[in-house]
């Protein structure tokens, strides 16, 4: 059965850098932390390893990043499982299903093609999506109220 369009996200970019360089950036804790915005990650990732770090992005510093490494195939594939969009510190996500994040590297002319796939969103409980939707809806309404106030004066 083909996965539904709501089940996965897929991204592809070509990076002008050798495969070994890109591999280091995704498979070593320090490097991943640098572009992912996470503090406290160290060393090369190993299959089965549980990784924890502190989110460094402004406004999200109270959050902890947690993931479990699945596959590590040197310079080819790195995958992990985690709880997507786990942005509320009061919520215990540990009993919820996880999504699978996969990074695939291929050598292409001029650099390295990185394919990112995150899948398994259809398994995530509906109330998580509802909440995100309501927050977005209210954000939209609030923006319009501001515009309205602005033009009404």
């Amino acid at each position: 059965m083909a996965p539904s369009s709501t089940d996965r996200i897929e991204k592809q970019i070509v990076l002008r850098a050798p495969r070994a360089r890109v591999w280091r950036a995704i498979a070593s804790g320090e490097e991943l932390g640098a572009w992912f915005g996470v503090k406290g990650l160290k060393g090369w990732f190993e299959p089965g390893q549980r990784v924890r770090g502190q989110i460094a992005n402004e406004g999200y510093e109270h959050l902890t990043l947690e993931l479990t490494v699945e596959k590590v195939e040197q310079e080819r594939l790195l995958s992990w499982r985690w709880h997507p969009h786990a942005v509320e510190p009061a919520v215990d996500y540990s009993q919820e299903p996880t999504t699978l994040v996969e990074f695939r590297l291929d050598e292409v002319e001029g650099g390295t093609r990185l394919t990112l796939v995150e899948s398994g969103f259809d398994q995530i409980p509906a109330h998580r999506r509802d909440k995100a939707f309501r927050m977005n809806g209210e954000g939209w309404a609030e923006q319009l109220r501001r515009v309205e106030r602005h033009v009404a004066t």
């Binding site: 369009s5 850098a17 950036a25 640098a34 572009w35 969103f121 995100a132 319009l144 515009v147 309205e148």
Partner: protein
């Protein structure tokens, strides 16, 4: 901001231009705000208390519809207008937020490895 970031920002801004153009009119902005606050409404309700004619309001709503901001659904003899945003599939929006997060992260990765 890097040149690539600026280019990406400009491109996404350009994509949003029809939306801003559609909203750049007091009457239309008022219509969107009304639909936002009061929910779906018929043309009679939207025209009530306004000095603008029904025909003019319909034209404005059509401009908004073209920009993807509202949509009209025929109910009986009337069309009911509603905000398109409310119609967006919730799972899709959730996924879009996560997808945007990945885009930003991958751009930071690009900066790191291409330096």
């Amino acid at each position: 901001m890097s040149r690539r970031d600026r280019a990406a920002a400009a491109a996404s801004l350009q994509g949003a231009a029809p939306v801003f153009a559609a909203l750049g009119d007091g009457t239309r902005l008022g219509l969107v705000a009304r639909l936002c606050a009061g929910g779906p409404a018929s043309i009679s309700r939207l025209t009530a208390g306004s000095e603008v004619t029904r025909q003019a309001i319909t034209k404005h709503l059509e401009v908004l519809a073209e920009a993807g901001l509202v949509r009209g659904v025929r109910r009986g003899r009337e069309r009911i207008w509603e905000l398109e945003a409310a119609k967006l599939d919730e799972a899709r929006r959730w996924l879009d937020a996560i997808s945007a997060g990945w885009d930003e992260a991958l751009e930071r990765l690009r900066k790191l490895v291409e330096e």
